[in-house]
Every structure is written in C-alpha cells, then in structure tokens.
C-alpha cells in the first residue's frame, strides 16, 4: 500500500531523472562526444548557477511566494564583487565572496520584509525590486565593465577550477543543493516552510512563526543569488551591469520543471536542481545535435509546457489513486 503511494509520490523527480537519462542516451548515441568527461564537465558548469538559484527559488515557491528579483540580485552581486576585486586587489577573496552573499541576503531581506511583513503580494514586490535592484546596479556601474584582466587570477580560477575532476561551481551548487535539501527534509524549520505553503491559515493555527519563516526564505534566496553572482563573476570574467538580465524566468522554469508546485507546499530542491540540469542539458544537447540555434528557444518552451502538463497529470493520477485507497481502507 505504502509502496504504491510512495511510488506515485516520487514519480516527479523520477520523471526528470528519466528525461535526463533519455536526453543523455539519445544525444550520446547520435554524438558520443556529448558523453565525454569534458562535455559533462561543461554541462555541470553551465547548470551550476541556475541550479544554485533554483534552490533559493524553491525555498520561496514552497511557501506559496515567488522571487522574480533573483536575476537583479545576481547582477548587483556579480558587479559588486568584481568591482571590489578590480579596484581593491588587496581585499582577500573569501571576504569578497562573503560580502556578495551578505549583499544578496540584504536584497532578500528587503523582499522578505515587503512580502512577509508589509503583505505586498510576492509577484508585485519582487517585480518592483527586480527593477529597483537593477537600477542600483546600473547606477553603481555607471557604464563600467570589469574584465577578466582586472581581476586576480586566483579569483577567476574559482570559476573554472576542478576539484577531483568536478568543476568548483558545480561542487558549490551540489553542496548548496544537499545542504538546503537536508534542511528542508530534516529540520523542523524546513518542514514548516512546506506547511506554510500548503495552508497558510492552518500554519498559524499550528503555532508556526509564519512571518519569520517567509522572511528567512527570501533572505536565503537572496543570499544564494549573491553567491551565484560571485560565481558568475569568477566564471565569465567579464562583468557589467547587465549580468543575468532576464534569468529569473529560466530559474522559475527550472523550478517548475523540477516539479515544485507553483502554488506552494510541495517539491524538493533536488527536483529543482535536476530541472536546472535538464534545461541546460537540453540547451547543450540541441547545440551538439546541430539543431538550429534558432529552434532552441521553441524547444525549450515546449519542454517546459510538457513538464508542467506531466506534473499535472501525475497529480491527478495520484488524487485518483488516493481516492481508491480511501475506499479500500474504509472500515
């Protein structure tokens, strides 16, 4: 009995894993170079930033909110980090990284306070800060671009260095996924996020500190966006005020494809990270399969739609399975 429900329940992540396997299988058969270690390394690198962001976004979406401002936070953090490194080469790299994370967390706190305390709907609040943070970024940059040559070699290496054959950004993303996944699954604070998204009213009755949890979800999302910003700077080397513009929709797409319900209450960061991996895997595969670059966006969109429809069908099937179950169990 438990088996059936569990199987149906876990099918979401399973579905993405299957899709990933199919993607790699098919592409690998057509062009074995796709499966070469170097190619895998590239895909991991490419998905690392979106995966990190998707983890933060999952925290927020699980509470029945959304954070559209992540891309602007990435932008401001990437530029801020790069600027400090370029203008003050003496500042130790860990301090810069920590500073960027804090900067992101501060942006997240602004969102969190607007949503959690001032009760501004998340979509409106974060659409507003999407513009506002980007505006601050532009004003700060004032048309300036920081190039790889301006930044210390040691910092740039963070963006591409391998540790045990795995690129560092991917390792960071993996750590983030595992850590946040662990917290969401094992700590009461994590479970409470799901409870809030599942039923905000019942969460109040259960004595959960709803405001505090919502604010902290936004803060963590902001901090991770800050982290992603530094990774961005290290990885791409060329940083200006436009960094990551428009990436918010990619992040939300990854989260949705990863089976996180847009209306809160369910989904895991593993799913979201796999969603990010799948989306960048698709992009890479389309390039390797020599699919016209122009068709890639369309295929991406179609796949996103397919994923949310699949998700819906699975949810309906689960509901049906549960109804049957109720009858079987009924006294």
């Amino acid at each position: 009995m438990t088996g059936l429900v569990d199987r149906v329940g876990r099918v979401r992540e399973l579905g993405i894993v299957v899709a990933l396997a199919a993607l790699f299988g098919v592409t690998g058969v057509v062009n074995p170079a796709f499966l070469s270690p170097a190619s895998i390394r590239d895909i991991l690198l490419n998905s690392a930033i979106i995966a990190t962001l998707a983890v933060g976004q999952t925290l927020v979406v699980v509470t029945r909110n959304v954070d559209l401002s992540v891309s602007s936070v990435v932008g401001i953090s990437a530029f801020g980090g790069a600027l400090i490194l370029a203008d003050h080469p003496g500042v130790p790299i860990p301090v810069v990284v920590a500073g960027c994370v804090l900067l992101g967390a501060a942006c997240g706190a602004v969102n969190g306070l607007l949503v959690g305390v001032a009760k501004v709907p998340a979509l409106v609040a974060t659409l507003g800060t999407l513009y506002a943070f980007r505006g601050v970024d532009y004003a700060w940059a004032g048309g300036r671009q920081v190039n790889a040559a301006d930044m210390p070699e040691g910092f740039l290496r963070l963006g591409s260095a391998d540790v045990l054959g795995v690129p560092l950004p991917a390792l960071v993303a993996l750590t983030v996924v595992l850590a946040v996944g662990w917290v969401l699954r094992n700590l009461p604070q994590g479970r409470e996020l799901y409870a809030i998204g599942s039923s905000p009213d019942a969460a109040v009755l259960a004595g959960i500190a709803v405001k505090r949890r919502v604010v902290s979800a936004f803060v963590v999302s902001g901090a991770l966006a800050g982290l992603a910003g530094v990774i961005w700077a290290a990885r791409f080397g060329t940083v200006d005020a436009t960094v990551a513009t428009g990436k918010e929709l990619d992040v939300i797409a990854a989260v949705v494809v990863g089976g996180v319900a847009i209306f809160g209450g369910s989904g895991t960061v593993y799913g979201a990270a796999l969603g990010a991996l799948l989306l960048s895997g698709i992009t890479s595969a389309l390039a390797v399969l020599r699919v016209d670059a122009l068709a890639q966006t369309a295929v991406n969109g179609a796949l996103i739609l397919a994923a949310i429809m699949l998700d819906r069908l699975l949810a309906l099937r689960m509901a049906r399975a549960l109804r049957k179950r109720r009858y079987r169990d009924a006294r």
Binding site: N147, A287, V288
Partner: protein, 337 residues
C-alpha cells in the same frame, strides 16, 4: 597578412578626388562653435562604445563643441528610437548613432533630419536614407577577407572552421560573414570548410556556451572566427581553460586590453581590430563637418578630422576609417584600449 597604418594612408590618398561636390557643401566653412553632438551607441554599458564615445566626446572638445553619450542599457532598436526623439527635442546639432536595427531607427532619424539635425552612423550603419554619413570602421570586404586570411595562416590552410557571431540580425556581422564565405571559395582554401555560424548574441555567457557547443559538435574543429569583441573574449576564456587551448585557433575582432592575457598565454595567436577610439573621434569630426556645412554626405567631399588628418566621403556617403590592425604577441603591448 596584416595591414598597417601606412596601408590605410595609401588607400586614403588613392581615393578618387571629388569631381563635382554638391553646391551646398563649403569645404572651407569653419566649424561652428558650440555644436551639440550626441553619441547614441547600441547600448551604454558596452566598453567598446565607452571607448569610442569617450574619444568622440574628446573630439567635440577639440573643436569647441559639446558632446555627450546617451542611450539605452539594453541593445534594442525600440529604446534607441525613444532616445532619438529626446535628442530631437533637445535640439542637438548632430546625432552619431550605431544602429541596433538598420531599419527600425530610420523613421525616427528621418524626423531628426527633417528637424535640421545631421545624422552620422558609425560602427553599425542604418539604411542609407536614415543618415547623412556612415563612418565605417573598415570596409566590410577587408574585414571579412582578412579574418579568413588570418585564420588560414594559423591553421595552415586546412581544417574545419566555425564562426561565432553576435546576434543573428547584426547587419555588419552578417556582411562580414558573407565576405568570409566568398573568400573561402578561393582555391587556396579548398582544404578549409566553414561548418557552422553560431550566435552568441553579444552576450558573454551565451557566447561562452555556444563555444562549448561548437567544440562538442565538431571535435575536429581547427579554428574559430569571432567577429565581435564580446564573442572572441568569451571564446578565448573558454579555450584557455580547456583541452583545446592552442589546438583550436581563435581569431576575430577584439580589443587588446581584453585579449592581452590570452595572446600571452598562447590561446590566441593574432586578432585584428580598428581603433574604436579613432572611430568615435572620426565620427565626431564628421558630425561637426556636416553640421557646419563642410560636407553634405555626397561622394568626394573632404573634411579634416583633427589628429587623424583629412578624410574623403566615399560612395554611399561612407567614410572609411582605415584598414584594421592585427595584434599579436609582438605588438600588443604597444596598444592600450
């Protein structure tokens, strides 16, 4: 085969002298004082334009005018149009524009011209009826052919090559690519094959990923031409950090400051570019010449461009900056832009 400044000078002086300049042009008219000239780049946060416009504004200072750079933060034609309108309202004497879309800005530019504003396009031309003069950084033909020549030498005239361009709609890139394809039909390139044109959208990350994609799908690639400063920098960064470093040759258009490190570490043997500062500087002078009535944009008219000397308006209202400079390990330290 690289080109040098002296080649450019030779080419300039060899240009046919004007036989019949239109009556309106008075080559001896003095530059009017206090000319207001606005530089409208594709987007304002692009360092290439920052350099070009900085020197353009410097040119306006030289002749006692007032220069400024305005523009959108995202490279779109529609937002450029908003700025053109604003410049009309501000009664600028001349607009110097690099068009995001050669056609979309034309209606607005026509309005500007109707309001008596002189229009100079630089870097990326508009349709001909949208401007008086186009200051061309280098002839499209030269750029297209020399990039193929550069790469062919580096890979020994043999192997598959690819192009990493900017956006699919970028006019200048597309013209260069046409000339590249034409150059490749010559017999000395019979062992070279252009397998793919990829688009990095002048977006750093996209260019980076596209480079990866190229190397995955064509592991035997011998070389890449990236005729855009954003693209070549991203491609260089990818190559320098991959197994392909030094094996896959990379050339194209880039700035020395951006690529110095990659030339030194052997990722890039050589690349080329005109001096963007000179481009903006020349465009500034051309705008002043137009606004002062020295030229009208007809073929054969001549004007002085400060430290760069005298230039002649060519066919189609084009003013050619000169041939591109090739930068390699030997000369790169002589340049700072």
């Amino acid at each position: 085969g690289g080109t040098t400044r002296s080649d450019v000078a030779a080419q300039q002086s060899a240009a046919p002298a004007a036989s019949s300049a239109p009556a309106a042009a008075d080559p001896n008219a003095p530059i009017k004082p206090g000319l207001k000239i606005a530089f409208l780049p594709k987007q304002v946060n692009n360092p290439y334009f920052t350099i070009a416009d900085r020197d353009g504004v410097a040119a306006t200072k030289e002749f006692g005018g007032e220069g400024k750079e305005v523009g959108p933060s995202e490279a779109s034609a529609s937002s450029q149009v908003s700025y053109i309108n604003t410049l009309i309202q501000q009664k600028q004497d001349a607009i110097v524009i690099s068009a995001n879309d050669p056609n979309a800005v034309v209606p607005a530019l026509k309005q500007a011209m109707a309001a008596g504003i002189k229009v100079v396009s630089y870097d990326s031309d508009t349709a001909k009826d949208g401007r008086h003069v186009f200051v061309n950084q280098a002839s499209a033909e030269d750029l297209g052919r020399t990039q193929v020549q550069l790469l062919a030498e580096q890979i020994g005239h043999q192997g598959r090559i690819a192009v990493l361009s900017a956006t699919p709609n970028a006019t200048n890139q597309n013209t260069w690519i046409e000339f590249m394809k034409d150059e490749l039909t010559k017999p000395e390139y019979e062992d070279m094959e252009l397998v793919k044109v990829a688009y990095g959208n002048d977006d750093d990350q996209k260019s980076f990923t596209e480079t990866q994609g190229l190397l995955r799908s064509y592991p035997d690639l011998a070389g890449i031409i990236s005729p855009t400063t954003v693209g070549i920098a991203a491609a260089a960064r990818y190559l320098s950090d991959s197994d392909f470093k030094g094996k896959v040759k990379l050339t194209g258009l880039g700035t020395p400051n951006q690529l110095r490190a990659f030339v030194k570490d052997g990722t890039i043997e050589g690349f080329e570019l005109w001096n963007p500062g000179d481009l903006g500087y020349l465009a500034g002078w051309a705008a002043a010449a137009l606004a002062s009535g020295q030229i009208t944009g007809a073929e054969g008219e001549r004007f002085k461009a400060g430290k760069l000397g005298e230039y002649t308006v060519g066919a189609g209202g084009e003013v050619l900056l000169g041939k591109p400079t090739v930068f390699d390990a030997k000369n790169i330290d002589d340049f700072d832009f």
